[in-house]
Amino acid sequence: MQQHQYDVVIVGAGGAGMRAALESSKRTRTAVLTKLYPTRSHTGAAQGGMCAALANVEEDNWEWHTFDTVKGGDFLVDQDAAEVMCREAVDAVLDLEKMGLPFNRTAEGKIDQRFFGGHTRNHGEAVVRRSCFAADRTGHMILQTLYQQCIKQNVEFFNEFYVLDLLMVGGRATGVVAYELATGELHIFSAKSIVFASGGFGKVFRTTSNAHTLTGDGMGIVWRKGLPLEDMEFFQFHPTGLAGLGVLLSEAARGEGGILRNKDNERFMERYAPTVKDLAPRDMVARAMANEVREGRGCGPDGAYVMLDLTHLEPAHIDAKLPDITEFARTYLGVEPYTEQIPVFPTAHYAMGGIPTNIKGEALANNDDVIPGLYAAGEVACVSVHGANRLGTNSLLDINVFGRRAGIAAAEYAETAAFEELPSEPQAYVVELVEGLRNSTGEERIAAIRADLQATMDLNAQVYRTEGSLKQALVDIEALKQRFTQVGVQDKGKRFNTDLLEAVELGFLIDLAEVLVVSALARKESRGGHFREDYDKRDDVNFMRHTMAYREISVAEDGKETVNIRLDYKPVVQTRYKPMERKY
């Protein structure tokens, strides 16, 4: 076991983690721990752009952007946070440009901008060009640019270090325990500030745009500490995943003129969102697509998907603006987007919920109190700027604005705070977790349990939910928890034990699936990404509030522990905008 001491430890090296690292490493001694290599992070898979009211190609301002974000989030957005994000968006884009990000350019050589779903001029009048982009690989460019800046600034990385526990002393975060994949060795990192930036948990679903590695580790670690998770029922299903595969095809395809069609070749979004049509927010488009399929207007032999039509666009335009996604269609489905429509269906994409934070990126222990030394940013966090449904491009914005803020706040706290003594045996929990799994003699296969978890989540907790479906999911998850106690790890070695890694990840996935479903069951309304067929209207009287889920352990007289999920609620911060019906 090795010991390390840093002022700031950042967990995760995607966009939020590296943006935080650029700030904190300028100010204090910082280490970035990632279970991958930084450039493997899933920020790199983001495609369409990053919105900011630069007004480079048409009139725009950050207040319109704020309104769109609040309305897009079905008014569950904390409006103070959305204001911060949309106001700082302009500088966030300009900062990236100054770091070298190769944005597409206008005829005058300024950063080019294009349409994106839910982004409008003057509070919904018409769509507006707000998304700054680099072809359809904006996330790739952000990830590469931030990594390049980290090289320039000599940021210290610990690659393939898997953080498995957060150390707390008297309510303050004091360090983390990490498992080094190459050697199987444990490392204790003592720190004054810890920033979680470890991404989402899309792998609870089978059909997902998320990487295999997005297993909600950061949320899971915090959850197991008894700290709350906010709004976990709100998961975004991106409308255009490659049918059957879930590989993301950017909303930029529609921003550049692409059209969704059903089997009658009808542009069906005209019925669902007459003003903005195919550029309605993602939750509405995903539901419309699922509805077309349910009502028998789907395409393909089983009528299981709809079509994304780019055939009316000039091939040269497609090559310039959408090169990667059209290559995905060719590679994985053998479809030529110049001449053929592309089969698409909603794919689990983004967790709106996560570790509750305030606008400085400080993590919260409850509705009000900050956890000293603990920060979170990016998809792992819930500020909440996305509310019940995130607008396209706002995640790349979120990681830059709140990654930066969390990095600054973490460093500033570290400059004033002292190192706390670590608990005795700080590694105890991780040793038990890791060795328990490694030495397990169970017969259950990791992949079988995971596949069953993903199947029940796809079936019962996806675009459409009911009390019955969610209860079924809970029954299934309970059975899977039992099976997980018998999970077997075949690889008993120390070196690059990815079998063991997958078992640990599966444990987090099961925990988070349960939180998602329990939160969803209690929210008897439909809002944004959470749609209940049995309560198909938004209910502002009873549910204009954030869900706060807590893990609680009760000990019976015989010493047997039971884990319960307790739900509490937190008010939504409303400043400028009163809730209104969401029409597009």
């Binding site: 493997r40 070298g100 300024k110 590469q144 090289i151 590695t213 070695g493 034990n497």
Partner: protein, 234 residues
């Protein structure tokens, strides 16, 4: 369809030498090689070890040598491999193998970091964005696509035989900034590339171009850097 996948296995914790092991897996023609590896790991042998993340060719984790050619496992479909025959999978060459298909990436990233792969500017920062024409932006577009998967570098015969040459990817990484009209670090970067173990070690075999899963014209980029060195202008 049943396919036979022959994998070069190596785990120094168990045996000192690498050995080939063949697995039979049921696959669809549209499955990826990554799906085959997952099926083996998840259903037959949990000790099989490889890196992967995004599974659609953008993160660069799973470069490996498939039927003798460097490719991404997640971007190689079974039907494109002639599945009637055995499919061979081995680690990329020229980097130390740590376990099965996992190699030590540190030498590769060291090479990348050595070419100053970041924008270098002087003077005051502008208040707004730097102006760049789309034509100037297009000049280095190809090399911005790099995902650092190492398929190019580990396909290069010079890299295999010469422990010092920093390989095609590092030159791609440098090219991306040398030809960026906003950058002012070209002189320093060219000096690094002018080293005796630098760009002149390239023998123009085009292996790198063929190997690049992003379709970057790597050899062309290297030639452009060589020309910039000779004429000292970009």
């Amino acid at each position: 369809m049943d396919a036979h996948v022959k994998i070069l296995r190596y785990n120094p914790e168990v045996v000192g030498e690498a050995e080939w092991k063949t697995y039979t897996v049921s696959l669809e023609p549209t499955d990826r090689v990554l799906d085959a590896l997952h099926k083996i790991k998840w259903e037959q042998d949990g000790t099989l070890t490889f890196r992967r993340s995004c599974a659609h060719g953008v993160c660069g984790s799973d470069a490996m040598r498939i039927n003798g050619r460097n490719r991404l496992a997640c971007k190689t479909l079974i039907k494109d491999l002639n599945p009637e025959k055995e499919i061979t999978v081995e680690p990329i060459k020229g980097l130390p193998v740590l376990k099965d298909l996992v190699v030590d990436m540190e030498p590769f990233f060291d090479a990348y970091r050595s070419v100053m792969p970041f924008l270098v500017t002087t003077g005051h920062e502008p208040t707004r964005e730097r102006i760049q024409s789309q034509a100037d932006r297009d000049r280095f577009d190809d090399t911005t696509k790099c995902i650092l998967c190492a398929a190019c570098t580990t396909s290069c015969p010079v890299f295999w035989s010469d422990g010092q040459y920093f390989g095609p990817q590092a030159i791609v990484g440098a090219h991306r900034f040398i030809f960026d009209s906003r950058d002012e670090g070209t002189e320093q970067r060219l000096e690094i590339l002018n080293d005796k173990e630098g760009v002149w070690r390239c023998r123009t075999t085009f292996n790198c171009t063929e190997a690049c899963p992003r379709g970057i014209e790597v050899t062309k980029a290297i030639q452009e850097v060589k020309r910039a060195l000779i004429f000292r202008r970009v």
